[in-house]
């Protein structure tokens, strides 16, 4: 299965990719934000990840990881129609409440990290964002990816964030770069087009980047979290709310936009 998530039309068991329809107009089924899908809508994409159809004939929909439908409208709804109902229908207040308090971290609970450990113990898995925040994770990876161009061009233009976020101390830059490196080191990939026997490439050494690029990566990361309504309070509580995610109906993840333009989605 390795690498198949790069293929825009990949559908397990389906030889022909189905016609692409934006999420807003797509009937509720099962949405995987890690697939190349340039459907716009910041909140809509997160919402679509949190629900799934359990009976297409009646339009019954359940929350992710459950099979008990919370709505049975009698006919299929589009993701946009369903989101509008959850936002406004008092009968769905309990669903609205659940989606307003979601776990920020998956995996075995561990203490939060506020300083680089003197002797880091490598673990098989660190906490990860829930799938509904896949776009957030992808944006952070896109920021890192764009910053790596500084390895090839020391004059690479890579601005940080001047306003809209709290200032980032130098120690926090170092901590976040350490944390990002921790994950880059974990999973390596061969060069593009060289699957099948090629050894994996090493992880990019982030601390070798110019300091202003490291700082910009960390400032952008802080901004990305805020773009999904997640600040320090949410991070400390470990709870985020779908309703704090701006609607941003025109938003398309850069990764999906970039890969869709290459693969012609």
């Amino acid at each position: 299965m390795a690498g198949l998530w790069f293929e825009p039309g990949f559908q397990p068991g389906s030889p022909e990719p189905s016609r692409w329809v934006p999420l807003a107009d797509r009937n509720v089924s099962a949405f995987d934000p890690s697939r190349i899908d340039p459907s716009p809508g910041r909140r809509l994409r997160a919402f679509a990840t949190l629900v799934h159809s359990v009976d297409p004939t009646t339009g019954a929909v359940a929350l992710r990881d459950t099979h008990q439908p919370f709505i049975q409208p009698g006919k299929p709804l589009t993701y946009r129609e369903l989101l509008d109902r959850v936002e406004t229908d008092p009968a769905l207040a309990n669903v609205h409440q659940v989606l307003g308090a979601l776990p920020l971290r998956l995996g075995h609970p561990r203490p939060l990290v506020d300083a680089i450990p003197p002797e880091h113990q490598w673990t098989a898995r660190d906490p990860d964002l829930p799938p509904a925040l896949q776009d957030l994770g992808d944006e952070i990876n896109e920021d890192i990816r764009e910053g790596l161009a500084a390895f090839d061009n020391p004059h690479h233009y890579y601005p940080g964030i001047d306003s809209g976020i709290d200032p980032v101390p130098d120690d926090h830059v170092k901590l976040v770069i350490w944390a990002l490196q921790r994950e880059l080191n974990r999973e390596l990939r061969p060069n593009e087009g060289h699957y099948g026997g090629s050894p994996p490439l090493p992880a990019a050494p982030l601390t070798d980047l110019p300091w202003h690029v490291q700082r910009a990566i960390v400032e952008r990361r802080r901004l990305r979290y805020l773009q999904w309504g997640i600040g320090k309070a949410e991070w400390e509580s470990g709870v985020w709310s779908l309703w704090s995610v701006p609607r941003d109906d025109e938003y398309v993840p850069r990764r999906s936009a970039r890969l869709a333009s290459i693969h012609g989605v």
Partner: protein, 47 residues
């Protein structure tokens, strides 16, 4: 006979010809698996 023209020399910042571009040297962070990309957000470290 007209004097030979010369092309002005321009210097474009870029990679040393002896070094391959970064995507050929390092793993592209955007190509690791979806779960790992979510892990890469390092939610155990403050934004």
């Amino acid at each position: 006979m007209p004097a030979p023209t010369t092309t002005p020399t321009t210097t474009t910042p870029g990679i040393d010809p002896g070094i391959s571009p970064w995507p050929e040297r390092f793993t592209d962070p955007a190509r690791i698996c979806p779960q790992q990309r979510r892990e890469g957000a390092s939610p155990d470290v403050a934004p």
